[in-house]
Amino acid sequence: MWLNDAISGTVLVLFAIAEIAYSTTFPTLHGQAYGPSLFPVLIGCCLMACGFVLIFRGLRTRRSQARALTSDHPQTDVGTTEFEANTTDPVWIRFGEWASSPSRRINMALVPGSLIAYILLSNTIGFMPLSIVILSVLLYRLGSSLVLSLGIAIATTTLLQLLFAKVLLVPLPAGLLLRWLG
């Protein structure tokens, strides 16, 4: 995902303003000039300055892109493909290759999606069932066959369970399994 620097800059400036505003609510130490707010405010100020530099740069590249566009036009024999490529060129946001194919868009969303699902559900459903589901879906989506995906998912989950829960004694959530067993 490519962003014009002006967008990153704007985000940074807005973030910095909010951060500084919030930092000023921190208590000051009695009899001391420097308290907990000093570093956050300093960081916020520097971030804001960098943000403005990025906005300036982003606008400049955009302007030069636009200029290149207009100066290019007379020379090319306005072929349709050329024209299309040119008109879409100076953009604010450009997504990577993955955004053009719907299946890859889903794959891309699956990574944060499955992590969020794990964060929300692991306590109730448990590590093993959830891990098998997440792994087999991801494996299948990335191109393994259905049976192979399920097999690898079960094998990996068992390995992880043995390694972390049995050897390293990490209390992986048991979830549903506990209810069935208990």
């Binding site: 921190f26 991801l138 990335l142 990490v170």
Partner: protein, 504 residues
């Protein structure tokens, strides 16, 4: 020096050596698979080191990383895809050798130079770190404040790409370091009432996110799988090597030194070391025109440099607690977890541990010779492992690893957030290394600033009242002002040129 024997008995134990062997296999595997970096290997290891004694934990990381940096050369020579960023500088050159039918030479030079580079780096580490530590024992909070500033500024200056973006990256890291209970007043900052945020952003899930989740996302965004490996016999990679190494022995020494020095600089690791060494090699070569056509000279320099850089990065990490690269940033986190807080005191109080680290470095780099040879022989099989199968497995490992640090899903949230952020940052040319340095050094910077301020009664002049502190302070101010001065001068001369052009 009496610490060497106890240190040896700490290292030469069956379990430590066993851990090192497993770590070596892991490192060779991860390093030779493109898209899986050495830093990611280290990040994936931390959950395991969490449950180990200090010496095997450090041994595991050192071995994994040394192996992975060499193994990165294998797909570089065979497929023209660097296995780790540290091999990117010379992967065209290695592939050109392969195209000429000299794949054995390419891999052999890579392996032997990696071993020599690793040994040079280890020797420099073992020689300079104790001396520096003796010097650093006199440092107070003033010196540490300036050192932290120096490290952070260095990270911005040497980072790849634009300086402003490097600075933004650093500031993001510093901001993340401020989250949690503040050290002076005990006030919770940016926690928004969350109890888990009060302890601060745990460093290890953040690392796993930035180095593993971001790679997972990058793979899914642009999957590259299944490339034909050239059908050349890879048998005796050591044939003709003696001639090459003895012809370029000066390059070996130069590459090793450049690597170690670049490694010491915070924020610059093996990848930058390899680029600089390759460029130097080309600049001073008698056969400059042969570079890029399958000439082993550049390979010798850069292959030595990237392995030497690994050990170099440990010098500031062990002596001052300032990481020399992203991997040592992870190491510092592990050291704190093990109660082996980096700094000069650990050299005085636990010299056997420090010497054990040095010994581990030598052992790991010497073991690279036979194990790396084995990896070259098995390279075809390793490169056939489909990455679309590995990526989901790695994701699940990350989930469990991030959970295991605090036994809480909060670690997974941190990992997810940092992973997505690192991915977007790298897509837009923001280097990630300064963020990590900011996270590691932010607390150190603030703590030393605050205690210095209390000592100096709020007078800024206190920061320049001690000779070493004053020197460091002037150095930091120079680093900050030089780019501004240069930019100002450039703008001035441009304006003058423009006006003179108008007149004429």
């Amino acid at each position: 020096m009496d610490a060497i024997l106890p240190a040896m008995s700490l290292v030469f134990q069956l379990d430590v050596l066993g851990v090192m062997l497993l770590a070596a296999i892991f490192g060779l595997f991860v390093g030779s698979i493109p898209g899986l970096t050495a830093t990611m290997a280290a990040a994936l290891l931390i959950p395991f080191t969490f449950f180990m004694e200090p010496v095997p934990a450090i041994a595991a990381i050192v071995t994994t990383v040394a192996m992975a940096i060499f193994a990165g050369d294998i797909p570089g020579a065979l497929l023209r895809i660097p296995g780790t960023p540290a091999s990117a500088a010379y992967c065209d050159e290695a592939y050109a050798l392969t195209r000429k039918g000299k794949v054995e030479t390419a891999l052999g030079v890579s392996l032997v130079c990696s071993v020599i580079g690793g040994v040079i780096g280890s020797a420099l580490l073992a020689m300079t770190a104790p001396v520096l530590a003796e010097f650093a024992i006199k440092f107070s909070s003033f010196e540490y404040f300036w050192l932290a500033c120096l490290g952070l500024s260095c990270a911005v200056v040497v980072s790849t790409g634009s300086t402003v973006k490097g600075l933004v990256s650093l500031l993001i890291g510093l901001f993340i370091a401020t989250i949690g209970i503040d050290i002076t007043a005990g006030h919770p900052r940016f926690t928004f009432g969350s109890v888990e945020m009060m302890g601060g952003i745990s460093f290890i899930p953040a690392m796993i996110g930035m180095f593993a989740i971001s790679e997972v996302l990058r793979f899914i965004a642009t999957p590259q799988d299944g490339q034909a490996i050239p059908q050349q016999p890879i048998k005796n990679v050591f044939r003709g090597l003696g001639g090459i190494i003895s012809r370029y022995k000066l390059n070996v020494v130069r590459g090793g030194t450049i690597g170690a020095v670049v490694g010491i600089l915070p924020g610059a690791g093996s990848d930058i070391a390899a680029w600089i060494a390759y460029a130097m090699s080309k600049r001073f070569s008698k056969n400059r025109e042969k570079f890029g056509t399958g000439h082993p000279e550049g390979l010798v320099d850069a292959g030595t440099a990237n392995n030497a850089g690994l050990a170099g990065a440990w010098i500031p990490a062990l002596v001052f607690g300032i990481p020399g690269d992203s991997i040592t940033a992870i190491v510092i986190g592990v050291l704190y977890m093990k109660g082996m807080n980096p700094g000069p005191t650990v050299f005085m109080q636990q010299p056997e541990l420090i010497h054990a680290v040095f010994i581990v470095f030598f052992v790991a780099n010497l073991a690279l010779l036979p194990l790396g040879f084995l990896a070259i022989r098995l390279s075809r099989t390793i490169l056939h492992v489909p990455r679309h199968v590995l990526i989901p497995i790695i994701l699940m490992f990350c989930v469990v690893g991030a959970f295991a640090i605090n036994n809480s899903v909060f670690g997974i949230s941190v990992m997810l957030f940092m992973g997505v952020m690192a991915y977007v940052m790298e897509e837009n040319g923001f280097p990630v290394a300064p963020t990590i340095l900011g996270i590691v050094l932010g607390a150190m910077l603030e703590r030393n600033f605050m205690s210095s301020m209390i000592k100096a009664d709020g007078e800024f002049s206190g920061f320049f009242s001690r000779p070493i502190a004053a020197t460091l302070g002037v150095l930091v101010i120079l680093i900050w002002t030089l780019p501004l001065l240069r930019a100002g001068l450039r703008a001035l001369s441009r304006r003058r040129q423009a006006s003179s052009a108008e007149i004429s």
